[in-house]
């Protein structure tokens, strides 16, 4: 019993360490390898924009471009191409553009496949108000951390009798503990002061009760971080009235899905929201969460902000804070100036012009 808890804390310390330090295997002459997955639709152009901006910022990143269109593996199961998997396993860090989910291709959604392949258990979305992109909500600065593997999205559904369907929500001790630990580690690494667990344990007594218990247990090991609990409906109610009262929110899958999109809506939508997925074994894939926008693909009209901010998140994750701040400042300043903005931000410039402006600012900041 005691040995178990000692082992658990050892494991979490090692894991915490792994999260803080970049993977050593890809550390060569200061350059770190990142697997770049451009994606579909506007994916390639926004990825190119990000690569250009990183070059201008002289970030020590070596990009390895890979395609993740599903292929049928030996056992008949769908999987991502082996070279993509090998590249990710080696570099441990990935940046992904939007992926198309084909309707009748027979294989599950690509995002789901990636999640299963790398056991991406935590979805992290920092939502910070962008100065210069006006929304009714100002001063938003919160992070939603969502458990990404189980909960309501386990996909286990049955038709009991004709006309009665049951869908199973699965909550396990291990997954709950893992996400709670990640949340507190994130809080510590990013100097955040409080973690709030979102739940509906008044109705779902056992499942959300278990999630809450695990969060409380993990909170004991992080006495420097304030831990609070709040009902899902109370969060929704308070979030739209005063979002500044929240810091880090940790929650199971469905609530996380809804709340992270709600918070994205507060700061201006999916076109400006970064997102990161953290997996076991130190893997982390950062992505833009908007769609592929096939109607404007290839026309140099896309807004690379979401992917850029996700890439900035990636830099911070890798410990390259200086470059991260530089690029973020350049991006925010460009938006604040309002002179060169893409159509969705209210301007009329092209993607390449927007990118060039950010590159110029990054170089000026040097």
């Amino acid at each position: 019993m005691v040995a178990g808890s000692v082992l658990r804390s050892l494991v979490s310390q090692v894991m915490g360490g792994a999260l803080r330090r970049p993977a050593l295997s890809s550390f060569s002459r200061g350059m770190q390898t990142v697997t770049l997955i451009p994606g579909d639709g506007i994916g390639p152009e926004i990825s190119a924009a990000v690569v250009k901006i990183f070059e201008a910022a002289k970030a020590p990143i070596r990009w390895e471009e890979r395609n993740v269109t599903a292929i049928k593996g030996p056992g008949g199961r769908w999987m991502i191409p082996p070279d993509a998997k090998e590249s990710m396993d080696r570099s441990k860090i990935g940046l992904k553009g939007p992926l198309k989910t084909p309707i009748a291709a027979g294989h599950p959604s690509m995002n789901l496949l990636l999640r299963k392949t790398f056991d991406l258990y935590a979805n992290v979305r920092p939502c910070v108000s962008i100065e210069g992109y006006k929304t009714p909500y100002t001063d938003v600065d919160l992070v939603t951390i969502r458990e990404n593997t189980e909960g309501e999205y386990s996909g286990i559904e049955h038709v009991i009798v004709d006309g009665v369907v049951q869908s199973i929500k699965l909550i396990t001790e291990n997954a709950s503990r893992r996400i709670a630990e990640y949340a507190f580690e994130y809080a510590r690494n990013n100097q955040r002061s409080s973690v709030t667990a979102v739940h509906k344990a008044n109705i779902m007594r056992m499942s959300d009760g278990l999630f809450l218990r695990k969060c409380r247990e993990v909170a004991e090991d992080y006495k420097d971080i304030k831990f609070t609990e709040i009902y899902l409906d109370t969060v929704c109610l308070n979030m739209v009235q005063d979002p500044t009262q929240f810091d880090i929110l940790v929650m199971p899958n469905l609530y996380g899905d809804i709340l992270s999109d709600l918070c994205a809506g507060l700061i201006g939508g999916l076109g400006v929201t970064p997102s990161g997925n953290i997996g076991a074994n130190g893997v982390a894939i950062f992505e833009s969460v908007h769609g592929t926008a096939p109607d404007i693909a290839g026309m140099d009209l896309a807004n690379p902000t979401a992917l850029l901010l996700s890439a900035v998140m990636m830099l911070r994750h890798m410990g390259l804070h200086e470059h991260a701040s530089k690029i973020q400042t350049a991006c925010f300043d460009t938006i604040k100036e309002k002179k060169v903005l893409t159509k969705d931000l209210g301007g009329s410039s092209k993607c390449s012009e927007f990118t060039a402006e950010i590159c110029r600012r990054v170089q000026d900041l040097d």
């Binding site: 199973i168 929500k169 007594r205 056992m206 009760g209 929704c236 109610l237 899905d257």
Partner: protein, 392 residues
Amino acid sequence: MAAHSAALSFSKIINPLWGRHLGNTVKVFGTTLTSNRNKTFNCPPPAKYGGRHTVTLIPGDGIGPELLNHVREVFRFSCVPVDFEVVNVNSALEAEDDINNAITAICRNGVALKGNIETNHTMPPSVKSRNNLLRTSLDLYANVMHCQSLPGVQTRHKNIDIMIIRENTEGEYSSLEHESVSGVVESLKIITRNNSLRIAEYAFQLAREKGRRRVTAVHKANIMKLADGLFLQCCREVASGFPDITFDSMIVDNTTMQLVSKPHQFDVMVMPNLYGNVVSNVCAGLVGGPGLVPGANYGRDYAVFETATRNTGKSVAGKNIANPTAMLLASCMMLDHLKLYDYASLIRNAVLTTMNETRLHTADLGGQGTTSEVVQSIMRIIQSKGQLTAEF
């Protein structure tokens, strides 16, 4: 007439007793006993004696008791012909006797006004939420909330007018959970064709009655293909019977995002239980907070009125700073249900006029007013209308 009312009362006795033990079957059985389904929804109970109605009052916890006292005060002052039968429910007890008494009282009276009963989730999981028990036992299948921006209240978005109809008895709130293996808990979300059809039918009927143009179904059928897929399919089926009303659907996460950026695109929304919880709280927040919006729970035979966001408000209880608007507007909805329309409009107008006065705003609206000041102002406005009133 006598046979009809006898059948009605017979079913009232049978349903609550059997409802909780036999599940779906009793709903089928109960239907065959009662009169035809073409009756208008929410037929109020007949006035009991001398033109006065009896309504069950459940004070609940937190701010419930004080707000309901204010409701009684206003009713007594305005000489509303309603008598309240108070039933207390102690949320600290594990036994279900209290809530069963309350349910029996509501069966007897047909209408109730309630505060929120706290659920202490440190108690063992076998102690279910009392509010949920009440809703499922009485089969209050539709939770209706009308979110309207009030002119006197400052909010980020103006002129919001959304009706939210939420399935109130099944979905994620079935309270069916078990620990299959140690450390692994399963919680069942149940969606049935009957209930989905019923709530969709209710939503479209209400939309037609109120002259609304569009009904939006909120779901997550891309992930929960069978469960929410069934719900969506039922909504579509019902929609085909209402060609004058536009029907569309939206995924719940996109819905919340749209609500905070462009809330004016929504008209009437219908959805399963949990999404209803999220969306109704977001909308309540958009129009000014939990203190302003009333909610109603309708079943075939019963109606229970409460605040829309069902908060206990423990942090503001007993301090005379709670906002009585939501509870008073809920009581007006109850008066409308009892067909006492004149009293309902009288009190409602008084409440809304008072809300326009920024000076009287309570703490939740950013003001300094106290609950009693607000209530006094309401009573003063009622008196000025020249109707019969009691003494102050």
